[in-house]
């Protein structure tokens, strides 16, 4: 508070002279009395003005100078270099001491009406216009005016950055921003930027400021002025518990009104301006991000109350003393309305700014989220894409023709296999009609039928037809047709895989021819066999029988030798017949082979031993077998096989009792039989020979037989797609192994085309 009698401002020597001069002038001339003008302007350049105005103020109010009733003292600072004057003003001023005039007036302008000038000056004012009207200068008036002036006096001292003590220090109860659950604004804008924004307002108003999230949580709160700090801390002490509980109790008055005002702004979507519990006012502006209100920013303004009633009510509410309140109130520097209005305007801009930042951050996060989703999708598609590329590769590299046509029979795709087979390059055929490759070069009944089936969703299974190459050559092909559907599950394309089956056809033809040849050969053989069965054997029989009749009837006339010779003839015929019989058996293995059916080898073994019972009895042989399985075979041939092998085992015995056994092993669909005996055995060099037709290891005198038995066995085994071999040791015994598949691939029907080509 400035004392009028002392000057703390730096005053130049000339100015103090001026002051004295002015005082003298004012007193001696009583010029103010005489002043007819309504207003007295003191105008000048900035620095000079400051000095002059102080001097003037001092001059006017320090002595017993009486101001005319309706005279306004306007102290105005004008834009540099520009001064206004008017005739009457100038006249008024020039009636003063010329010394004073010299200092006051410099540049004149174009002559402006004082009223207008007053008007303009008030617009440009940075100081309060003091209007002293109607009241005689009294102490109240003086001190009132002085007070008013003093109130704004501090502005001259103020510069940015200086604060009212330690107002930025955190409150003793801690940082309420820690309770922020919402954090939308806090995270979007950031602590430091929020503080900067609030600082703007606080620098001007020096009260308190806060930014709230939409749910009422603090994003930031600053109590800058001593008054606000005092009131806030005082009311905090009135509320119980921790910060959260204190907020909810409703007894923390300052917090309460701050929040309430802010929430009103948030809910209404409009700025709110009302009194607060702490005795000043709050201006709250909602913060809009896009279409949402995400919070509010508010600032306190106005002077703490000075009236006794107000202070008393406040003291009661806050449970403190009037003295204390008064003390705190004194510390607050009043703000001119202009500054308050400007601060409010700034607040509106700040709210807009924060809203924009939040909105932009939201958008950025949206974009980031979309980006993530997009990358996710791309990653998902990658394997699908790779799979697709893999399939595309397979299609392209396939040797088969793979192509597709649309519903108008135009070629849509054409792989390299198709080019190889048909001779058309993709450029030549894509977009053209598929009938370029058909034999008829146009739709036929067959193609129409196929089309109907495809459109019904049931394309035909692989079928064969004839296509035509670019060079006109007709080729047989096997086609596989399938439908291609779009997302709506409608058939849009037909895909075709075409395989050139020329080779296959050739093989088929060759096979058919071979089958026909074989069948013819078999038939010729059958006829031969039939002839052999009858015509060849008749003469032989006659020879044998009549030889017998001869020796019978004419025994008396024949000597021993004659009988012997005649017997030799009979025996030869007999042997010849046996040979023919065996040859017939041998040939009939294939020509008279019966179709394969399920055969119980156990039963076959029993039948064979029954058929051989005389030989078994005579030799005293012991013949046993494992449990034999059922297999697919020709039963009569199996019987012959068993009879031959067991018969041989009996025939080629040693002195010891013949021990003959049939062992069985089943593995992987193959049956291995072991016809084991303890007979005479044979050398290894003979192992293969014995299976050849007519091969005998002994003379007929030693062992009877035609040498066909094992050859027939081999033929039977070959017909059944099996194998036969022997392992043996002379004078120990032999193992004849027979391996047979349990299931036959062919039917074994020798009358059908499907003959096992051997």
């Amino acid at each position: 508070m400035r004392d009028s009698t002392s000057s703390t401002h730096p005053v130049e020597n000339s100015v103090s002279e001026l002051r004295r001069g002015l005082l003298d002038a004012a007193v001696t001339t009583g010029w103010l009395k005489k002043l007819k003008a309504k207003a007295l302007f003191v105008a000048g350049k900035e620095d000079l003005f400051q000095t002059i105005s102080q001097v003037f103020v001092d001059a006017i109010f320090s002595t017993d100078v009486r101001m005319p009733r309706d005279c306004a003292v306007v102290l105005c600072e004008l834009p540099e270099g520009l001064l206004f004057e008017s005739e009457p003003c100038l006249k008024a001023i020039t009636s003063l001491n010329s010394e004073v005039c010299k200092h006051i007036c410099t540049v004149s302008d174009l002559g402006v009406d004082p009223e207008v000038l007053l008007d303009r000056a008030t617009n440009l004012m940075t100081l309060t216009c003091m209007r002293i009207k109607g009241n005689p200068p009294s102490q109240d008036l003086e001190s009132g005016a002085r007070d008013a002036l003093n109130r704004i006096q501090w502005l001259l001292q103020k510069s940015l950055g200086t604060t009212d003590g330690d107002s930025r220090a955190p409150q003793p109860y801690g940082d309420l921003a820690e309770l922020n659950d919402s954090k939308i604004i806090f995270e979007a804008v950031g602590d430091s930027l929020l503080r900067e924004i609030l600082d703007d307002g606080l620098n001007l108003l020096e009260t308190s400021a806060a930014i709230f999230e939409s749910n009422g949580d603090y994003a930031l709160s600053i109590k800058a002025s001593k008054w606000c700090r005092f009131m806030d801390e005082r009311s905090r002490q009135l509320a119980p518990g921790d910060n959260r509980e204190a907020i909810e109790s409703g007894k923390w008055h300052c917090n309460q009104s701050c929040r309430e005002t802010s929430l009103m702004a948030v809910e209404s979507g409009l700025p709110v301006d009302q009194a607060c519990n702490g005795g000043i006012r709050i201006f709250a502006v909602p913060i809009k991000a896009g279409n949402d209100i995400v919070g509010s920013i508010n600032i306190g303004y106005g002077d703490p109350p000075k009236e006794k009633e107000a202070l008393e009510a406040l003291a009661l509410k806050y449970e403190t003393t009037v003295e204390e309140l008064s003390n705190q109130a004194q510390k607050y520097h009043s703000r001119p309305p202009f500054i308050i209005e400007q601060s409010k305007k700034r607040l509106l801009s700040a709210a807009y700014l924060i809203g924009e930042i939040v909105e932009r951050r939201r958008s950025k996060m949206e974009i980031q989220k979309l980006n993530l989703m997009l990358n996710e999708r791309i990653r998902e598609l990658e394997p699908a894409e790779r799979e697709r590329l893999k399939l595309a590769d397979i299609v392209e590299q396939s040797n088969d023709a793979i192509f597709s046509i649309d519903l108008e029979s135009r070629v849509m795709s054409w792989n390299s296999g198709a080019e190889k087979i048909y001779g058309y390059s993709p450029e030549e055929i894509v977009g053209q009609s598929i009938f370029m490759i058909t034999k008829e070069e146009g739709p036929t009944q067959e193609t129409e039928e196929i089309r109907t089936m495809v459109m019904a969703g049931t394309p035909p299974k692989m079928f064969e037809t004839v296509h035509k190459r670019k060079d006109g050559v007709e080729i047989p092909v096997a086609l596989t047709i399938s439908c291609i559907r779009n997302e709506q599950d409608r058939i849009t394309e037909i895909s075709v895989i075409s395989r050139d089956i020329t080779e296959k056809r050739k093989s088929e033809e060759a096979l058919k021819k071979f089958s026909r040849d074989l069948e013819r050969s078999n038939n010729e053989l059958k006829q031969f066999a039939f002839a052999a069965a009858h015509d060849l054997q008749e003469p032989l029989r006659a020879m044998a029988n009549y030889s017998d009749l001869l020796t019978g009837r004419y025994a008396a006339m024949l000597d021993e030798r004659a009988v012997k010779y005649i017997n030799r003839i009979a025996e030869s015929s007999e042997r010849m017949q046996a040979l023919i019989q065996d040859l017939l058996h041998y040939s009939r293995v294939d020509t008279h082979g019966k179709p394969f059916a399920e055969v119980d080898l156990q039963e076959v073994f029993l039948s064979a031993t029954k058929n051989l019972r005389i030989a078994i009895e005579e030799s005293g042989a012991v013949v046993v077998a494992d449990k034999l399985p059922k297999i697919q075979a020709d039963r009569s041939q199996m019987l012959l096989l068993f009879q031959n092998l067991i018969g041989n085992a009996i025939k080629y015995r040693r002195q010891e009792t013949p021990q003959i056994s049939v062992h069985s092993k089943l593995e992987n669909g193959m049956l291995t039989l072991d016809f084991k005996d303890n007979g005479i055995g044979m050398e290894e060099e003979h192992f293969e020979r014995i299976f050849v037709i007519f091969q005998r290891l002994h003379t007929r005198d030693e062992y009877p037989g035609t040498g066909m038995g094992l050859a027939i066995c081999k033929r039977i085994v070959d017909r059944h797609d099996g194998a036969i071999w022997v392992e043996s040791k002379p004078a120990v015994g032999s193992d004849f192994f027979v391996r047979l598949p349990t299931v036959q691939k062919a039917t074994g029907d020798s009358s059908a085309n499907e003959n096992s080509a051997r």
Binding site: E538, A542, G552
Partner: protein, 143 residues
């Protein structure tokens, strides 16, 4: 005992006669090589109230003109003639022939043996079986 032997091969028909002779059984054997004629002859017998009807027919299969198989069928389809037992005596040991003959109701099937001893045995068995063991239907000469 009357036997009708249908056989085209003289050698074979002689052999059977020889066999019968050597075992010392009286049997009248009529040999014919013509199956057709034999059939018509048999039918004629019927008209004569069965006079000269054979008690047994021994039938070869492979005959000229009408085949033995055909004759067998005819015989066994004939309402009266089918009563006469038919023994097939053939060179064929083919299973299909044997099956065929039994399917067409031959009474038995014998494969012609190679040696004479066997022939004698067969002849003996045949005569003993058909003329001493079994009962034949009335109308035969064997009362």
């Amino acid at each position: 005992m009357k036997i009708l032997h249908v056989e085209d091969n003289l050698a074979d028909s002689d052999l059977l006669k020889e066999a019968f002779e050597s075992i010392g059984i009286e049997a009248t054997v009529q040999v014919t090589h013509d199956a057709k004629k034999a059939l018509s002859g048999l039918e004629q017998n019927l008209q004569n109230q069965g006079a000269n009807s054979p008690d047994l027919i021994v039938l070869d299969l492979n005959l000229p003109k009408m085949d033995g198989r055909e004759m067998l069928k005819r015989l066994k389809e004939h309402p009266q003639l089918r009563r006469i037992p038919v023994v097939i005596l053939s060179t064929s040991n083919l299973e299909q022939d044997i099956s065929f003959c039994y399917e067409n109701h031959c009474n038995s099937y014998i494969v012609k043996p190679i040696r004479f001893e066997e022939y004698k045995r067969i002849a003996k068995n045949m005569l003993e079986y058909w003329f001493s063991t079994v009962a034949l239907p009335s109308g035969s000469t064997n009362n």
